[in-house]
Subunit: 200 residues, 2 copies
């Protein structure tokens, strides 16, 4: 099978960021492409009752340590943001708008959003930061401003989140390979074996 892999994530998810730095290369080793699908964990958590990881008693403190250590383990730059978690609806909506116009540039934009937050310490919840990052990919700032203000793009992200929920997505990253779901950047080795052997 050569269906694309679905990669669900929230732009404010540390483990989502770590997965984003590895998933395309991993998939391409097995002749696969990856569909990147930003969602809003806030919407997901409204349905599941879950809380952001860092707010969970004991687990929250652990997770802060684990984010950085997992990044070092995977050889990825990581600085925990001062504001965390933060709203990512502008970034996610911008991604889908860009994706409809140039999917390769949308991918670069998505990388730049994650790195802005986790390497450069920028506040990606600010619409200006999102517009700057989109402009760097050559998109016309004013066109994106208009799109972000419209109802269509809001509905688009709402629909993506609803689809994600219907597919069982409860966290980030959530990666679906030929119908098989994998949750967490720590499942990349299992995904690799799954792709290599067509399941196990």
């Amino acid at each position: 099978m050569s269906e694309p892999i679905d990669f669900y994530f929230d732009f404010s998810s540390p483990y989502g960021y770590l997965a984003s730095e590895k998933i395309d290369e991993l998939a391409s080793r097995h002749g696969r492409k990856v569909h990147w699908r930003p969602i809003l964990l806030g919407v997901i958590f409204q349905h599941t009752g879950a809380a952001p990881l860092t707010m969970v008693p004991l687990k929250g403190e652990y997770s802060l340590r684990d984010f950085s250590r997992s990044a070092r383990f995977l050889d990825i730059d990581y600085t925990h943001p001062e504001t965390f978690p933060l709203p990512t609806q502008h970034a996610a909506r911008a991604y889908y708008w860009l994706h409809d116009r140039d999917c390769a540039k949308a991918r670069e934009f998505a990388h730049s959003v994650f790195r802005a937050l986790y390497v450069e310490g920028r506040d990606i919840s600010m619409i200006d930061v999102v517009l700057d990052l989109a402009a760097r990919q050559g998109f016309v700032r004013e066109e994106l401003v208009t799109a972000l203000g419209g109802g269509e793009l809001k509905e688009r992200l709402r629909a993506e989140c609803a689809t994600a929920l219907a597919r069982g997505v409860f966290g980030s990253p959530y990666i679906i390979v030929d119908g098989e779901p994998f949750f967490g950047v720590d499942r990349l080795p299992q995904i690799e074996r799954w792709l290599a052997s067509g399941g196990f």
Copy 2:
């Protein structure tokens, strides 16, 4: 440093079982011993507000699939128990009683409890099953019956759970290496690197 590794787990934890099949060999590759410390997740969850994994919306269904898949990935026998989760206070108390008498046999007992649940499908919440497994290690059944009925052993397990909470334990398996905490069987590769390089 050559301090023992602390391995906290609940006997009804699938990921705890998977870790139990790997942790001693992993540690011994780096000249380390492992302190096995059964605790009760029910007690931990009373403090943190967490729920058993299989009862969490969406995550519960995923976890059932992930238990079996992670077992296959690690090449460990696994059959999900009909009754799950189940109370493990008898098994945990028996472990500490056995450990005070013969720590090697207590380790074998702990393995046999996990395998009774996850390979043989036995109900390890039953005191008779726990007594049978202890008897197989050569312990006198009546002595353990008496100990399990006394207050001392109950207090011992209560104290172990309190110590675990004070050390930040919020789930199973929770493994502490030279003060560094690792949560989940999926952190074994990080533990391996930590032991090999004295941190990273």
